[in-house]
Subunit: 192 residues, 2 copies
């Protein structure tokens, strides 16, 4: 996709994050990005098409960051520290709000729902690979059902995003990372 | 609240579950319940007021069921079996879809967001009490940060509901309960 296509996608992320899905009209997205509304329709068939592309855009960008930051990490404490800094990025860049808006909107858009399903599956695969790396050679390795734990992790992350987006759990992500770091320190001490 | 108020609430749950939030107009809710739209406004100031009451109604009803079913349960295997049957009820009665619609709609309604925050806090308290009962006298009791684990559980449940509502994780809840049951069997063998 050309540079202007990327500009439209970045404007869509910012608009979703700041105004929410319902107010993310072509006019609002164009105003955020500083281009004419026609630019959107040069790259995308309609707004539904743009939002489907936006879900994939956020997911691919974040997947690249998550993979880069966690590559080679085999100790649980270091992994939790990486995930914490990635979560802070997600929040600062408006990805959490934008994704939350798109997931909520997926209830009314079958194409967006397909896209959310597809991206969710990629994140479950990623989580499963990370979990397998974390439990390798641990005494409880065979007790942990990696695919189910991976699904639970992705569901937890989406649920936390939802609560954080509603400010229903304002201070909790930080406390949860603290708690996870304490448990991780114990896991790192265990070896087969 | 009088019996007709309850009828309106039950009709709101069914309509949200079957048609979604956007199509849950006064007319649609009245048609579902078999009463005149005016009945809604006899009990509730407006639709926002009805949806706030509906969120509380579902939460209170389900809390009563969850408390009754889990009261006195101290073994992890039995707890997972209870939670599994409660989840099946949640799904069959349309509570999952209705709650998911209300949580998604909370993004655009500050009063609904307040209500979701309030009910979420009650469920986190409930989860914390259950977790404390489950880990009492276990060797890892002091390692488990009950408030954070309780928040994570509620977030996971909301995330699973969201994925299930989008059919993004169709068969997973069952597989997850299977996995949880296997882990629970191990936990039940541990004693201080």
């Amino acid at each position: 996709m050309r540079e202007t296509g990327q500009r439209v996608l970045r404007a869509a992320v910012r608009t979703l994050s700041q105004l929410g899905y319902r107010k993310s009209t072509a006019r609002a997205i164009a105003a955020t990005g500083g281009f004419a509304p026609g630019v959107i329709y040069y790259h995308f068939a309609d707004l539904d098409d743009l939002f489907v592309a936006t879900a994939r855009f956020i997911s691919e960008q974040r997947m690249a960051r998550y993979q880069a930051e966690t590559a080679g990490v085999t100790e649980a404490v270091e992994m939790i520290a990486s995930l914490r800094s990635l979560y802070v990025e997600d929040e600062a860049e408006g990805h959490i709000s934008a994704i939350q808006e798109l997931v909520a909107a997926a209830v009314t858009s079958p194409r967006l729902a397909d896209s959310v399903r597809e991206e969710t599956a990629r994140w479950v695969d990623f989580a499963e690979a990370v979990i397998r790396r974390m439990i390798a050679d641990k005494p409880f390795e065979d007790l942990i059902p990696a695919p189910e734990v991976a699904s639970a992790f992705v569901a937890t992350y989406l649920g936390l995003e939802m609560l954080s987006h509603l400010h229903a759990d304002r201070t909790r992500p930080d406390q949860m990372f603290d708690a996870a770091a304490r448990l991780a320190a114990i896991i790192d001490l265990l070896h087969t």
